[in-house]
Amino acid sequence: MEPNNSQEKNREVLELTSRIGEVLLKNGGEIFRVQETMQRIAKAYGVKRFHVYVLANGIFTSIEEDGTQISRQLAQETGCKGPDDACQVRHVPLSSIHLGRVAAVNNLSREIVEQRCTMEQAWQKIEEIDQIPFTSQWFQVFASGVGSASFCYLLGGSVLDSLASFISGMLVWCFVLFLSARKANKIMLNILSSALVTLTGVLFFHFIFGENMDKIIIGSIIPLVPGVPLTNSIRDFLNGDYLSGTIRMIDAVLVACCIALGVGFMLSLVTMLTGPIV
C-alpha cells in the first residue's frame, strides 16, 4: 500500500496546485505569478518533477511519477516502458477581476511554502478564497460615481460637470451590472455602455446642467477603460510570456475600439437628429 499512497499524494498535489492556479488566473493574476506560485506549492509538498504551462485562459500541469513501485510493476506487467505521468488541463475563461482573491491566494501560498499548512487545510482555504464575495452592488455603483466625478474634475471639468459625471457614472455601472448579469458579450457591453454614457452626457449638457460636455463624458467613460488588461499585458510581455501578453493586448485594444465606436455612434446619431453639437 505504501507506494500507492505516495502516488495518491502526488495526484492530490496536482489537483490542489491546479485548483490554486485556476483561482489565481481567473481573478486577474499575471502569468508569471501563477506559474511561480504553482511551482513553489508543488515543491513545498515534496513533488520534485512538476511541470506547468500557463496561458491567459488555460493551465496545463503534469507530474512525472517514476520510481514508485506500483508504476514499475505495472510497467513490467504490461510491458510498457517509461514513467506513468499524471496531468491536468484547465480552461479558465476571461472573467471579472477580483484582486482581493489574488492577495488571499498570495498569503495562502506563503503559508504553504513556510510549511504552516497541511494539504487538507489548503483545500479548505482555497475553496474559501474562491467564495470571497464581491463588494455589494450598490457600493460598486457608488464607487463608479465617485471615480467618474473625480476624473471629470482632474481632467479640467467644473464642479457642476463633476456632479453630472457622478450621476452618469453611477448610471453606467448599473447598466454594466445589468448586462453582465444577463451574460451579454463583452463587445456589445462596451459599445452599448459607452453609447449610454455619451447620451447621458449630451442630455445633461443640453437640458440639465454642466459646462463642458466632453469632460462629463470622459469622466464617466473611465470605469470602462481597459486599464487592467493593458497593465497585465505589459507585465506578461516583460516576463517573456508573449502569447498571453498578445491575448491581453488584443483584449485592451478591442475594448478601447468598442468605446470609441459607442461614443462615435451616439455622437453621430445626435448630430443627425439635432444638427452639430457644441
Partner: protein
Amino acid sequence: MLLIQSVVAFFATVAFAVLFQVPREQYVYSGLCGSAGWLCYLLVVANYPSPAVASFAAVIVLTMMARTFAVRRKTPVTIFLICGIFPLVPGAGIYYTAYNFIMGYNDMAAAKGIETIKIAVAIALAIVCTFSLPAPIFRKLAGEKSR
C-alpha cells in the same frame, strides 16, 4: 491647487480599488500610489508640455511606489499598480479620437489617436524600466521606511 488635485486623485484611485475588489486594508496605499502618480504627471506637464513624457515620468514614480508597498505590505504588486495607473490611462484620448473622427476633423482625429498610442507606449516603457530594476533596491526602500 496641486493639493486639491492630488486629494481628488486619491479618491479617484480608491474608487477604482473598490471596483476591482482590492482588500480594504490596502485602499489607502493604492490611493497614495495614484495620487503620487498624478502629482508627478502635473508637475512634469507644467514644465514640459508633452503628455507622453509626463506619463512616462509619472508611471516610473508610481511603479516604484507600488513595488515598495508590495514588499512592505507583503501583497502582490498588481494591486497597487492597476489602481494607481488608472488616472494615467488615456481615456480622454480615446474620446477625443472618436469625437474628432465623427465630426469629420480627420487631422485632429489622427493627431489625437497617435497621441493616445504614444501615451500607452510611454506607460508600457515606464513599467518595463521600473520592473527591470533589481529587487533588493525595493527591499531596502521598504525596510528604511518601516524603521
